[in-house]
C-alpha cells in the first residue's frame, strides 16, 4: 500500500515539475493559464494523497453539487431527453407501436407535400402564429404601460387582466362558445339588434374562414395578461431618471415612448416574442375546444399541426409520420428562435 502511494506521489511530483517547466517556457498567455489550471489540479491530488484522503476535495465538491442536481436531472433525462432523441429517430422510421420497426429514410417527409390535410394544418398554424404574436405583443405592452401608471386600484386591474390566463381552458372556451354562438349568442344578438346585420349574414364564429380569427381573438384575450406581467417587470427596470431627462428636454409622451420605453424594453420584447412564437406554434387545445364540437374533431379549416400529430399517433398509429410532422413543428420553432436571436445580436452590436 505504502509503496503504491509512494510511487503515485513520485509520478505526480514529476508531472507537476514537468508542467511547471512548460509553464515557464510558454509564451501564449491563454495556454499558460490552461497549464496552470492543470498543474493546480495535480498539486491538489498530491496533497490529498499525502494526507491520506481517499477522495480529493474537488471530487467531494463535485459530488455535493451532483447530489443537488440529481433528483431533477434524472427525471429530466429519463422523461425529456430520452424521448427527444427517440423522436428524432422515429421520424425516419415506420412503426405502428407494436409490430416490427423499420427504417424508411425520408419517406415520411416525402408524403407531406401531397397530404392536403397536413398542408391545411401547416397553413392554419402559420396564419395563427402570424395573427396572434404581434397582436398579443401590442396588447400586452399597451396594458402594461397603462397599468404601470400611478392609478387607483392598480392591483385590482392587474389581477383582472391576469384572470383569463389562470382560468382553465375547458371552462372559458365553454363560455366563449356560448357568447359567440352563431344563432343564440349575445354577440350576434347585438350585431343583429344594434347594428342591424341581417340574420343570414351574421358571422359564424366557429366555422369556415372566420374560425382562425376567433382563435386569434381568443388567444389574445387569454394570454395578454401573462405577457403584461413580463412587460411590467421590464418597465420597472427602466430608471426614472431617463424619463426626467426626457421631460427636461421637452419630450412629449409619445416621444418618451419611442426614445426611452421602447428601446429600453428591447430584451423584454425579444423574450416575449420568442415565448409567444413557441407557445403559438404548439396550439392545440384552444382549437379543439373552440372549433372541435362535441367529438373534438377538427375540419380542414380549423386544423393545426399538433392536432395532426395527435391524430396520426393515437388514431392511425402511424408513429413515424407523426414524428416527422413533429419535426416540421420543431424546425419551424427553431428557425424563428434563431432568427430572433440573430436579430437581437445585431441590435446589440
Amino acid at each position: 500500500m505504502d509503496e503504491k502511494k509512494a510511487a503515485l506521489m513520485q509520478r505526480l511530483e514529476t508531472e507537476a515539475a514537468e508542467l511547471m517547466r512548460q509553464i515557464r517556457a510558454e509564451a501564449d498567455i491563454e495556454k499558460k493559464k490552461k497549464l496552470i489550471v492543470k498543474r493546480d489540479s495535480i498539486q491538489r491530488k498530491l496533497t490529498a494523497t499525502r494526507n491520506n484522503r481517499r477522495i480529493s476535495r474537488e471530487t467531494k465538491r463535485d459530488l455535493v453539487a451532483y447530489s443537488f442536481i440529481a433528483p431533477n436531472f434524472i427525471g429530466f433525462a429519463v422523461f425529456t431527453l430520452v424521448p427527444i432523441v427517440f423522436a428524432f429517430l422515429l421520424a425516419f422510421m415506420n412503426w405502428d407501436g407494436s409490430n416490427a420497426i423499420s427504417f424508411v429514410g425520408f419517406d415520411n417527409f416525402k408524403r407531406m407535400p401531397t397530404d392536403t390535410f397536413f398542408l391545411a394544418a401547416l397553413k392554419n398554424t402559420i396564419l395563427y402564429v402570424l395573427g396572434t404574436v404581434p397582436l398579443t405583443m401590442i396588447a400586452s405592452l399597451a396594458l402594461a404601460i397603462v397599468l404601470n401608471q400611478k392609478i387607483r386600484a392598480r392591483g385590482f386591474f392587474r389581477t383582472v387582466a391576469f384572470f383569463p390566463y389562470v382560468a382553465s381552458l375547458a371552462a372559458i372556451t365553454a363560455v366563449w362558445s356560448m357568447i359567440f354562438h352563431p344563432s343564440k349568442g349575445p354577440v350576434n344578438y347585438i350585431l343583429y339588434k344594434v347594428f342591424s346585420v341581417p340574420q343570414d349574414q351574421l358571422p359564424k364564429w366557429f366555422s369556415g374562414s372566420l374560425v382562425l380569427v376567433t382563435l386569434v381573438l381568443f388567444s389574445v384575450w387569454k394570454y395578454m395578461g401573462y405577457y403584461m406581467v413580463i412587460y411590467l417587470a421590464g418597465l420597472q427596470g427602466i430608471s426614472a431618471e431617463l424619463y426626467e431627462a426626457g421631460s427636461l428636454d421637452g419630450a412629449n409622451t409619445w416621444q418618451k415612448f419611442c426614445y426611452i420605453t421602447w428601446p429600453q424594453l428591447r430584451s423584454t420584447t425579444f423574450f416575449v416574442v420568442v415565448m409567444l412564437t413557441i407557445n403559438c406554434f404548439k396550439v392545440y387545445d384552444i382549437a379543439v375546444m373552440l372549433a372541435g364540437g362535441g367529438d373534438g374533431k377538427l375540419s380542414t379549416s380549423a386544423t393545426v399541426l399538433v392536432y395532426y400529430i395527435y391524430q396520426n399517433a393515437f388514431n392511425y398509429w402511424d408513429l413515424g409520420y407523426s414524428s416527422a410532422i413533429a419535426m416540421v413543428l420543431f424546425v419551424m420553432v427553431l428557425i424563428v428562435t434563431l432568427i430572433q436571436f440573430r436579430y437581437e445580436k445585431k441590435l446589440e452590436a
Binding site: 465538491r61 427517440f86 371552462a171 357568447i179 411590467l232 400529430i309 420543431f330
Partner: protein, 291 residues
C-alpha cells in the same frame, strides 16, 4: 410686471392640470373597457350557472340573476358525472407535481447558481436546449416509453411528465444568481454545509421566485388537457379538465350545468393565484423572466 407673469404661469399651470385630468379620465375609461372585456365572460359564466337551460340565452330582457336561481345546478353536477373523483385526481396530481417541481428545481438551481463543478456548463446546456422544444414534439415517443414502463393510464405517468421541467430550474437559477455570493461564502466560512446553506439561507430568500413557480406549475398542471387526454383512459382516473370536456360533449344542451362545472373548476386556481399574486410581479422581475 411680476403679477402678470404670475398670472401667466398660473394659467399655464391650470391648463396643464386640465390636460392631466382629461388624461386621467381617458385612462380610466380605457381601463374600464379592458376590465369589462376581461371580466364579462366570467360574470356571464356565474350568471349562466344558476340559470335553467331556457333562460341562458334569453336576451330580451337579459337578467344577470334570474328570479328563481337554480342553485341545484351546483348539486346536479356532482351526480351526473363522477366530478368528485375528477377533482380528487386533479388535486393529488397538482399538489404532488407542484411540490416535486419546487423542491427538485430549487435544489438543482442552487447547484447551478452557487457551486462550481465539472461539466456544469454542459449539464445546464441540456436544460436550456429543451426550453425551446415544444412538448408536443416528443409527446408521442414519451408516451410509447411510458407505456413500455407500464405507466400507461396511471396518474404516476402524469407526475413523472410534469414534475421535472427545465423551465423550473432555469427560473430558480436566474433568481439565485441575483443573491450575492458573499452570503454563501460567509456561511461556508462559518462551517455550514451546502445543504444547510440551501435550506437556511437560500430557500427563505426565494419566496418571490417560489411563488412565481408555484403559480405557473399549479395553473399549468391544473389546466392541462392534452397530457391527461393521452395518458388517462379509465374514467375513474381522469382529471377535471377531461371531465369538463366530457360533460360538454355529453350534455351540450345543458348549459347551466356546464357553467356550474366550469365555475367549480376555476375556484382552486383563483384561490392559489390570489394568495400568491403579491409576490408575482416581483418574482417575474427578479427571476429574469423578462429576458
Amino acid at each position: 410686471m411680476n403679477g402678470i407673469n404670475d398670472n401667466a404661469t398660473n394659467k399655464k399651470y391650470k391648463s396643464k392640470r386640465k390636460n392631466e385630468i382629461i388624461g386621467k379620465i381617458f385612462l380610466y375609461a380605457i381601463l374600464l373597457l379592458i376590465t369589462i372585456c376581461m371580466i364579462l365572460p366570467f360574470l356571464w359564466m356565474l350568471s349562466a350557472s344558476i340559470k335553467s337551460n331556457r333562460e341562458v340565452f334569453v336576451m330580451d330582457p337579459f337578467v344577470w340573476i334570474p328570479k328563481q336561481p337554480k342553485w341545484d345546478n351546483y348539486v346536479k353536477i356532482w351526480t351526473k358525472i363522477p366530478l368528485l373523483k375528477f377533482v380528487q385526481n386533479t388535486v393529488v396530481l397538482t399538489i404532488v407535481v407542484t411540490l416535486l417541481q419546487l423542491l427538485t428545481s430549487s435544489f438543482a438551481a442552487y447547484s447551478f447558481a452557487k457551486l462550481d463543478f465539472k461539466h456544469k456548463n454542459k449539464l445546464f446546456l441540456a436544460y436550456i436546449a429543451t426550453i425551446a422544444m415544444p412538448w408536443q414534439v416528443y409527446m408521442v415517443p414519451q408516451f410509447i416509453m411510458m407505456r413500455s414502463m407500464g405507466l400507461n393510464d396511471k396518474l404516476l405517468a402524469m407526475i413523472c411528465l410534469q414534475a421535472f421541467s427545465a423551465f423550473g430550474v432555469f427560473l430558480m437559477k436566474q433568481f439565485y444568481e441575483g443573491i450575492p455570493n458573499d452570503l454563501c461564502e460567509a456561511a461556508r466560512i462559518d462551517g455550514m454545509s451546502e445543504y444547510r446553506i440551501y435550506a437556511k439561507i437560500m430557500l427563505p430568500l426565494s419566496k418571490p421566485a417560489l411563488s412565481t413557480l408555484t403559480i405557473f406549475t399549479f395553473v399549468n398542471t391544473w389546466n392541462d388537457y392534452l397530457g391527461p387526454l393521452i395518458y388517462l383512459r379509465t374514467e375513474t382516473k381522469k382529471t377535471i379538465q377531461l371531465g369538463l370536456k366530457m360533460f360538454i360533449g355529453q350534455y351540450s344542451a345543458e348549459y347551466g350545468l356546464i357553467m356550474a362545472g366550469s365555475v367549480v373548476s376555476l375556484v382552486p386556481v383563483i384561490i392559489v393565484f390570489l394568495c400568491l399574486q403579491k409576490y408575482f410581479v416581483e418574482g417575474v422581475a427578479s427571476t429574469g423572466l423578462k429576458g
